[in-house]
Structure formats: C-alpha cells, structure tokens
Amino acid sequence: MAIPYSTKVMQHFLHPKNLGKIKNADGIGKVGNLRCGDVMWLYIKVGKNKSSKEIIKDIKFETFGCVAALATSSVITELAKGKTLDQALKINRSKIVKNLGGLPLIKIHCSVLAVDALEEAVYDYLKKNKKEISPDLQKKHEIILKSKEVIEDRYHDWTDLEEKLHQKND
C-alpha cells in the first residue's frame, strides 16, 4: 500500500533529531505497539531551569519501526527538550501530528506510541526519585504496562541478545 508522507515526516525520517542512548539516564520509557509491532525507547535527563523547576535537559530515542514511528520519535524529542516535566506531559498526539505536517490515518497510532514513551520516561524518573505521581499519569502507566508484557515477550530473543552484549561491554 502506498502511504504518502509529508515533507516534514520525511525530513525527520532521513535526519532524525536526538538519536541514540543517554548513559545514566534519569528516566527511560520503553513502549511497544501491540498491533504493528513497533518499539520505542526514550531516555531523559532531568535538570532545573532558572526558576528551579524541573525540566527535560536532554532527551534521546531509539526506535524499531516504520517511517512514521521514526519521525514521531524524532519530533517528540524536539518538542520535549527544555520543557518542564508538566509541559512535557501535555504533549499529545495531535500536537505531534500537527508538527509533522499531518500523518496518514493508519499511522496515527505511531504518534500515540511516542506520547506513551515520553510519559513512561517521566513516570520512571518520578518513581525512581520517589516523587509525587499524578493519578492520571499512574493510570496511563498501568495501561501501558499491560501491553508492554506482550511486547517484551515478543521481542525477548532480541532483548536478551541486547542484555548479553551489555554485560559483555560492562
């Protein structure tokens, strides 16, 4: 099936922003899409701004997926970088789609994946640092967690390989 992508989507796909891993990340969001099988890992480093509010100081991603999945990953890192945690959690799927100059209907779920990944990364940070988690974020986390089990089962061969390699490198 031919899927027409916007110029913006293709730009992000061909030249992704904030690509890679953050060593000693403060928060990591690992999510997967149950239907199409795409997987997105998002890393954040949290810092403080001038009014000493917590902000996303650095953000990077690794994604296994289609053009839309890669482009949404790239654009959400751009949108979230430098934002306070509260602002970052307000980034929703329509904002991502708008910033990409639109997405084909069948690919909207990719933008949902990016939002989930960012929320999970923030959740991970708050949880690790024993900070307050809003009921809304807690609820979203629980929903994501359920599908995550299925995805992790699906990819365990590859993640095992990944872990083994890490152990080798460490």
Binding site: K30, C66, V67, A68, H109, Y155, L165
Partner: protein, 390 residues
C-alpha cells in the same frame, strides 16, 4: 525527496513495463480498429478475428486448445472465477475445497466468501519452512466432499515453486478438480496444462510486460464451472463484459515474446539474483533468505533483516531511486505482517524486516551493484536507530 536521478526498478513481481512490441501491437485497437467483438459488421468481425488469434497464441504457450482460454480483466478476477465458479457449480457433489495458507489474498478471500456465505468448508494447508506444500498433505486432506484444490504455481512473495504436477496427479486420482494460480510463472516457466494435470490455471498480462487489465483463466473443456458475472455470452458465457481487445492483443504479444526468451532470460536473471542474495547475506549480518534456496523463481529475492522495519528500508531505498517491496505490518493496510512470511514460520518481528527484490527485463549487473552498495549502509543506519542492536 529524490537525491539521485538514477532509478533501479526491482519490483517486477508487482508489475512490469509494457514491452514496446506489445504496445505497438495494441495501438490500432484503441483508435482505427476499435470495434466490438460482438458486432456483426466488418469492424466487429475484425475485432473477433484478432481476439481469436490472441487466444490461439496464448493457448499454444500452455499447450492447450484455444477453447479453454477465458480472457478476464485481472488475475484476481480469474482466481475469483476459478474458486467461486467451480465450487458453486459443483456444490451438489460437495462443499469442501482445499487451498494453501500462502495463496494470494484473492484466493484466500474467495475461499472465505464461500465459507461465510455458501456453507463451504475450507482446508488451508500448511507449508514447510521454505513455503513448500507436501503433496501427501493434499492427498490426506481430500474427502468425499472435496470438489476443488487450488495451490499456486509459485509464490509472489517468497518465490517458492510448488510441486504442481504431483498435486495435479493426486487430485485426478481422487477425481477432484485442480486449479493453480500461475500469475508469477506464466511466461517465466514452461507450463503444459495437460502434463501438469491442471484443470484450471490463472495467468496475468501485466506481470510479463503486457498491459494491465488483461488476464486469463484456462478451463479444461468439460469442467463444470459457472460465471460470477452475468449479462452476456462473451468468452463462452463465462465472462460477460465487452472484450478488452487492445489489452488482450498486447497480452498475447508479450506472452509470445516471453515464451520465446524464457530459457535465456531465466538463466540471466537467476545469475544476477544469486549474486544479489549471496552478497547481501555476506555483507549484512543477521540477514536471511526467505523461501526455498533452489526451488524458486529466477527473479525473486526475499530477505529478512533483524532489528529493522521494512517500510523504513523501502523508503530509504526510494530516496536512492530503488523500488522494492516489503511484507512488514507497517506497510499493510491492516497493520498485519505478510501471511506468507508467518506461514513459513517467521516470527512477527522477522516478517517486519523483510525486503522483496524482484528482477526483470531491464535489470542489469550495474543495478545489482548499485543496490549492493546502498543496502548495507541503509540497514546499518536503521539499526543505529533501533533499540535492538548487534
């Protein structure tokens, strides 16, 4: 988005350009000789005469009598006619048909239709890891209720060539009709309908350098079949519709050319394809060939790359002017990976990273070299983005 003006078309299993000679043969039938083959006056008779000439040319290629060739508008239509037309016409004998689990969607869904709306039972035979049907499984699946078996000649996705003659013999021993979808083999492999013991056979024009909009269903004379379209006596009453003379003329011409060049072109393509596959598997770690290593179409290469997704590969290749296709869920309108790749035992994520390259008339060694230069870099880049790494 194209950085390069170079175009390397490697999707010949999807469609092919019309052969210049086929195009030339067609042209008069659009304008000066535009008659309806059913009309009584001279122009109609001329149309009728060129239609019958085309029928003879096509029939000769599969060694059958012209009266068995029913021209249709597409392979999808031919397959629909074969499955529904035979199943419904023979429903008093039984309501069980057998297909493989790797058929083209038009066979799969025609069978689904019979199951859902006409009280049929469908057996979908499993294939082995190469995509091969075991003829013994066909024998075992046939019951007293079985009227039709339909197994494709070769897979459009993974290129595996099925043991059609053996299956044909089994069907005939058990008095069951046998259909094969030869869309990917007609004009590429020698076909003798009698020797292969097929009763019905589908072939398409646009896969072999003919125009789109023409195909045929071979129906062995005497086979009980009913039309799926109603409203005229065209094509022996089996396909009412004004006959698409220009497309059929182009189809017959293209088929005649392909049949003549079959052996030489097949050898040439197989040697290019072998180099392509060998070098990809050597240059790119964690890659594997899908389909049978030997029993496969000369022009087909289907390879899976771990840790990356197919649509991303396709659009990265597209930027460099290379046209190819994938069985990834992301490229399907149902977000499901190819049923063929799943049927040969690939896991969901392995089907995700599949790439099909199909060669054809215009493919040169330089094109293969160009792909071999571009592809390792693309896979490397996409793997750098992927959380799964090697």
């Amino acid at each position: 988005m194209s950085k390069s003006k170079k175009t390397v078309y490697l999707d010949y299993a999807a469609t092919t350009p019309v052969h210049p000679q086929a195009l030339r043969a067609m042209l008069p039938y659009f304008s000066t000789q535009f008659g309806n083959s059913m009309s009584l006056y001279n122009m109609g008779r001329e149309a009728r005469s060129v239609l019958e000439k085309s029928r003879q040319q096509i029939a000769k290629i599969i060694s059958v009598k012209p009266s068995g060739i029913i021209f249709t508008g597409s392979a999808t239509e031919s397959n629909n006619l074969a499955i529904k037309g035979v199943a419904l016409a023979n429903k008093d004998r039984g309501r069980h048909i057998i297909i493989s689990s790797i058929e083209h969607p038009c066979i799969m869904q025609s069978a689904d239709f019979l199951e859902k709306h006409a009280g049929f039972t469908v057996t979908r035979l499993k294939v082995d890891k190469f995509g091969l049907i075991n003829p013994n499984d066909v024998a075992k699946a046939i019951t007293k209720q079985t009227t039709l078996v339909s197994i494709m000649h070769a897979s459009n996705e993974i290129g595996t060539i099925e043991p059609i003659s053996k299956i044909g013999k089994i069907c005939h021993d058990k008095d069951v009709l046998f259909h094969t979808d030869a869309s990917q083999t007609f004009g590429k492999l020698p076909i003798n309908a009698n020797r292969m013991e097929v009763d019905l056979l589908t072939a398409s024009s646009h896969k072999i350098y003919g125009p789109k909009g023409a195909a045929f269903l071979y129906v062995r004379p005497g086979t009980k079949i009913q039309p799926i379209l109603h409203g005229g006596s065209h094509e022996f009453g089996l396909r009412p519709s004004t006959v698409n003379i220009p497309a059929i003329v182009g189809f017959a011409k293209a088929a005649t050319i392909c049949a003549k060049q079959m052996a030489i072109e097949g050898t040439r393509l197989a040697s290019l394809r072998d180099k392509l596959v060998k070098d990809i598997l050597t240059k790119i770690p964690h890659s594997r060939l899908n389909g049978h290593p030997k029993l496969r179409l000369a022009n087909n290469a289907n390879i899976s790359f771990d840790f990356v997704e197919g649509e991303s590969i396709i659009l990265s290749l597209d930027v460099l002017g290379i046209a190819a296709s994938t069985g990834s869920a992301c490229s399907s309108d149902k977000l499901e990976p190819s049923h063929v790749l799943l049927a040969i035992g690939l896991r969901h994520e392995q089907a995700h990273g599949s790439l099909r390259l199909t060669l054809g008339r215009q493919t040169k060694k330089e094109d293969i070299d160009y792909v071999l230069k571009a592809l390792p870099k693309i896979i490397k880049n996409l793997r750098a983005i992927s959380p799964f790494k090697i």
